[in-house]
């Protein structure tokens, strides 16, 4: 069986993350009744979110990921994301949007030019639209 990327965004495989957190949420409109008991109504079930971090990425790798969500570079804020869904123990494709794309700073800098050669602690969260 061929190796399959954990997460694919718009048909582009992401590098294997150092950590991968799957999250399944139910949106519920809830309130406490006059007895103090929570009563509610489901607004939407099974909303997916994935959180990924990479200990180290090259600037090009990280830039390529960020550009996937930037229309200037051919990306899109809403993307078709194929991810390993914890709810069904299989890959599934859903429309998702990204949170802030953050990195923890330069892990290593070229000593002569000052150009970062690696980023550390890059993080990306994708939330189902």
């Amino acid at each position: 069986m061929a190796f399959r990327a954990l997460v694919t965004v718009g048909g582009v495989d992401l590098p294997t993350p150092s950590s991968y957190i799957g999250l399944t949420a139910d949106l519920v409109d809830a309130g406490r009744n006059v007895q103090g008991v929570t009563v509610g109504a489901v607004v939407r079930s099974d909303v997916a979110k994935v959180e990924m971090t990479w200990k180290v990425l090259t600037p090009t790798q990280w830039s390529d990921i960020i550009k996937l969500f930037n229309p200037t570079y051919g990306g899109s804020f809403f993307q078709s994301v194929t991810f390993y869904n914890q709810s069904i123990a299989d890959w599934e494709t859903r429309t998702m949007y990204p949170s802030d794309r953050t990195s923890g700073g330069a892990y290593r800098v070229a000593p002569l030019t000052g150009v970062p050669t690696h980023w550390k602690d890059c993080s990306l969260k994708l939330v189902e639209a």
Binding site: V28, D29, N33, V34, Q35, V39, V42
Partner: protein, 512 residues
């Protein structure tokens, strides 16, 4: 109270409700057009009702068991055609011959919508509902538009894959006939079925498209004013489709009184149970040029009865109300009058006051000790208040706040038509006066006065917020449990807000 299944009622007793749905079906067409249409078809089955397909009834197919190949699934949802035929319920058009193995028909079914006169007003297309309950459709069909014998335009469709086909056709104007010819069906060995052909575009907005939805209704237990029933919904306008300056947008087709049908649903055991909530008519819209949302307000038919009444001024209240409703363009199938109205005869020909149609209906209802409301199926009903307490209750479990009590002024007595009739409630308080030119005798005036004491004798009015079951309607008699007591009230105001789930506000009057 809207009729729902026991499963629907049971789930509202639970702590967590399943997913709820609102569906707003909006017909962009010429108002009143459907009343001028006669529909017919070639080659229908014995139980086929081609005359039904012209309306916007959101009908569900009764799912008759037939011997079509692989069609009759033994899942308990199929019924035999009732005897004797012809079947009188909702069924729409069903062909009398099945499709062949190549999906064609020996003789193509042809459905005709004939208008009574040439209609100059343009409509933006037509919407054909094939058989969504069976997930079947015509893959190939031809729409033709005529003016007399002249063929104005032809829309040939091939490869359709939708059970509800919205055909955006430019140029349907100055026409008096539209035909739909079915060429190929989606499956072999099946009857061709059409539930509905709507002249105009039927836009269906679900919770995926609605940015907001509110349903507000109110009523007066003494028919002192007409009930109000309206919806307001917001739609996405980021693509400018409702922009007034968009030459290809839909705003150009917005006309007052266009029909809007609303359904509510809950997911029960894996499928959605839908209930019709009502038929409304476009009243106002706000589609700012640079707005991201377009807001629409629609009201029930009682809002459009402001014309001066010109019908008979003598006869039974039923005859007068019928004249008023007929003048308002309400067909006899869309109103229901209680026998109380037939038992009272009046003559107010000497009264030359210019009353509106709504004034007349309100006065008829008041004189007959009735209330007016439009049912969820769109029928204007004038009848006494329901005396049965509903099985639905607002309890401490589904209340977000305890009911708030207010007291109306103490009622001493009621005087109808300057003491023509009176009824006493107590020794102190205010005297309620009521003037109605359709109350002419002392006996009726006394009866109405006694009726009003029954309504206003108890001073308590309750209101609160709750997690609603949206089957509850104004004038329903329900129980409300407060911190110390359980009261029986008639709902006089109710508001449902839907933002993915229903929230509700209610107001009602305690009646002794």
């Amino acid at each position: 109270m809207i009729t729902v299944s026991d499963a629907w009622k049971a789930l509202h007793l639970g702590q967590l409700l399943p997913e709820a749905y609102v569906e707003v079906s909006y017909y962009i067409t010429e108002p009143g057009l459907v009343d001028d249409v006669t529909s017919s078809a070639t080659g229908g089955a014995a139980f086929s009702k081609a005359d039904q397909i012209k309306d916007f009834s959101l009908r569900s197919e009764p799912m008759f068991a037939t011997f079509e190949n692989n069609a009759w699934v033994l899942n308990g949802k199929y019924n035999f055609v009732p005897s004797p035929t012809p079947f009188t319920g909702d069924v729409g058009y069903v062909s009398d011959a099945v499709s062949l193995s190549d999906l064609t028909f020996t003789a193509n079914p042809l459905l005709t919508l004939q208008l009574g006169s040439v209609h100059a007003a343009a409509i933006p297309g037509i919407t054909i509902t094939f058989a969504p309950d069976r997930n079947e459709w015509a893959t190939d069909f031809i729409v033709r538009v005529y003016n007399g014998a002249s063929l104005l335009l032809t829309d040939t469709v091939t490869g359709n894959t939708e059970s509800v086909s919205v055909r955006d056709i430019t140029g349907i104007e100055d026409y008096d006939k539209i035909t739909v010819e079915i060429v190929k069906w989606s499956l072999p060995d099946r009857y061709a079925r059409i539930m509905e052909i709507a002249l105009g575009l039927k836009q269906v907005y679900t919770k995926a498209e609605l940015f907001g939805y509110e349903h507000t209704s109110s009523g007066n237990l003494a028919s002192a004013e007409l009930p109000k029933n309206s919806i307001q919904f917001k739609l996405d306008n980021t693509d400018g489709r409702w922009n007034p300056s968009n030459p290809t947008g839909l705003e150009q087709y917005l006309i007052e009184r266009q029909t809007i049908s609303v359904r509510y649903g809950f997911k029960i055991n894996g499928s959605i149970e839908w209930v019709k909530v009502g038929t409304f008519y476009m009243s106002e819209w706000d589609t700012p040029s640079n707005g991201l949302e377009a807001t629409f307000t629609a009201r029930d038919s009682l809002e459009f009865m402001g014309a001066i009444y010109n019908g008979t001024r003598s006869g039974t209240l039923a005859a007068i109300a019928t004249a008023a409703l007929t003048q308002a363009g309400i067909s006899s199938t869309l109103y229901s009058l209680h026998a109380n109205l037939s038992a009272i005869t009046v003559n107010f020909t000497a009264d030359t006051t210019a009353y509106t149609i709504s004034d007349i209906l309100q006065m008829c209802a008041h004189a007959a000790e009735c209330v007016i409301h439009q049912t969820s199926t769109g029928v204007i009903t004038i009848a006494p208040l329901n005396t049965f307490t509903s099985d639905y209750a607002i309890t401490q479990f589904n209340s977000f706040t305890f009911p708030e009590y207010t007291l109306s002024k103490e009622l001493k007595s009621v005087s109808v038509n300057s003491d023509l009739g009176t009824a006493v409630n107590g020794v102190t308080g205010e005297i309620l006066t009521s003037d109605n030119p359709l109350i002419e005798t002392e006996a009726i005036a006394n009866a109405v006065a006694t009726w009003l004491v029954g309504i206003y004798g108890d001073r308590r009015v309750l209101k609160g917020n709750f997690r609603p079951d949206p089957r509850a309607e104004v004038y329903d008699k329900i129980t409300v449990t407060s911190k110390y007591a359980t009261d029986v009230i008639y709902l006089t105001q109710i508001k449902y807000t839907f933002n993915g789930a229903f929230r509700g506000e209610y107001e009602g009057r305690v009646m002794a």
